[in-house]
Symmetry: C2
Subunit: 256 residues, 2 copies
């Protein structure tokens, strides 16, 4: 299995604090040594870093920890390979373009028989069931909506329906971003936490690091962090229901 | 205008020496301050780094210079914006998936009216004429070949034909890689150089750096470097003919 980390905000925010916690689980405090990756949205662009090396030893992870990137949406993944060998093309997040938008996807779980599902527009580059599931989701979205639907709610419902079909094939904890909304589906494990004024301090579980968000933010900032398992002590992480989708925009969950 | 750098080899090779020369032109020895990017193929995967910052000041460029990545195919671009503002989504190389392969593209020049050419499968995420041209090329390839053609030569001829149509609209110096072959089209400026045994020394033009390739290679290595302008002193760079395509595979040009 793997672990996921996502962030959705109303102002571009630096994810380094949460990333520093998660990346420890890539071989030090957790067994997810089979690569890691991160996708940052900046405007319409999506910047990705991937490395099939263990996160805790990766030079590129070191750069990400020392280099401030501010983003409204982030998806990050550390991998413990269950399906598909350890190599760059099997390293999440996967990305594709639809409607001139960059979509990114990461998944934790194992899906039975999904690689037999037919694909039309999008094809996997690697050999994971995850990338196949992502291509299938985008195929379905594209088939029903050759151009973007008028309402983002239509899209939220469709993603929920597709995620439900995948969840029926096995654990499907996933994060998907269309550069506007962050879709998080919980099959077995996903928790989230919203930070907003008045901001306080937080301490990571996986490494000795404390941050005082009051010093890093403005009173208007709203930042939601989503992760497989809580990353900090003493903050009110909400555990998501199994078989549920939560979609975030501007730092807050939106109605589906 | 911009500058391009490409590499195609028969064994995975480190591009840092050539990259160190080119990146100087991103604000130090050349005016290409409006971002830079690089795509490295590793197996079927394609790893990209992009930065809208000037190459000569970029922390990510610094990482690329200090981190060995060995690759059979590389495309690199430094940008001087002429069409589309300076931002991540307008930073080359652009990438898309076709037939389950990762395609990367970078361009130098300016194409008149190309943004009016209709697109079907692929849409630009940013606003450059270059990304539009890339989407159009992939659309045309996909339309004629919904599945990969049997012969790679068919593909070379098609790329040559499409590049010729773009060249008719303005300067179209480009590099395109389908993860197997590196297609280089010269509209105005492109030169290339093949290094093979017996290897010797080379010195960069843009910064003080000399390398003895005999120490870095085996006698079987064949490495071709392609660039807008020669990167080294005293090596036999071949200037490409205007309006010509050269396609490289295993480090050598192949018949079109």
């Amino acid at each position: 299995m793997c672990e996921l980390l996502g962030m959705n905000c109303n102002v571009p925010t630096d994810i380094r604090f949460s990333f520093s916690g998660l990346i420890q689980r890539g071989g030090r405090t957790g067994p997810h040594r089979d690569g890691w990756g991160i996708a940052f949205y900046e405007g319409r662009g999506c910047r990705t870093f991937h490395d099939p090396e263990p996160g805790c030893e990766s030079e590129i992870a070191n750069l990400v920890q020392n280099h401030s990137v501010k983003s409204l949406n982030v998806i990050c993944h550390i991998r413990k390979a269950t399906n598909g060998r350890v190599c760059l093309e099997n390293t999440h997040p996967f990305t594709r373009e639809l409607w001139g938008r960059s979509w990114a996807f990461a998944h934790n779980g194992r899906l039975k028989g999904v690689k037999d599902w037919p694909l039309k527009f999008y094809r996997p580059i690697g050999t994971t069931d995850s990338e196949h599931a992502f291509c299938w989701m985008l195929d379905q979205i594209r088939k029903r909506h050759p151009t973007p639907p008028r309402s983002d709610r239509t899209l939220r419902r469709l993603v929920g329906e597709l995620a439900g079909r995948l969840h029926a094939r096995g654990p499907f904890n996933m994060m998907l971003c269309d550069s506007r909304q962050l879709y998080c589906y919980c099959s077995t494990d996903l928790s989230w936490l919203t930070r907003r004024a008045p901001f306080g301090e937080a301490s990571l579980i996986d490494t000795e690091m404390t941050v005082d968000f009051a010093k890093e933010t403005t009173p208007r900032d709203i930042v939601t962090v989503i992760a497989t398992r809580p990353l900090t002590h003493g903050e009110p992480w909400q555990v998501m229901d199994r078989g549920s989708l939560v979609v975030f925009r501007d730092g807050l969950p939106v109605r589906i």
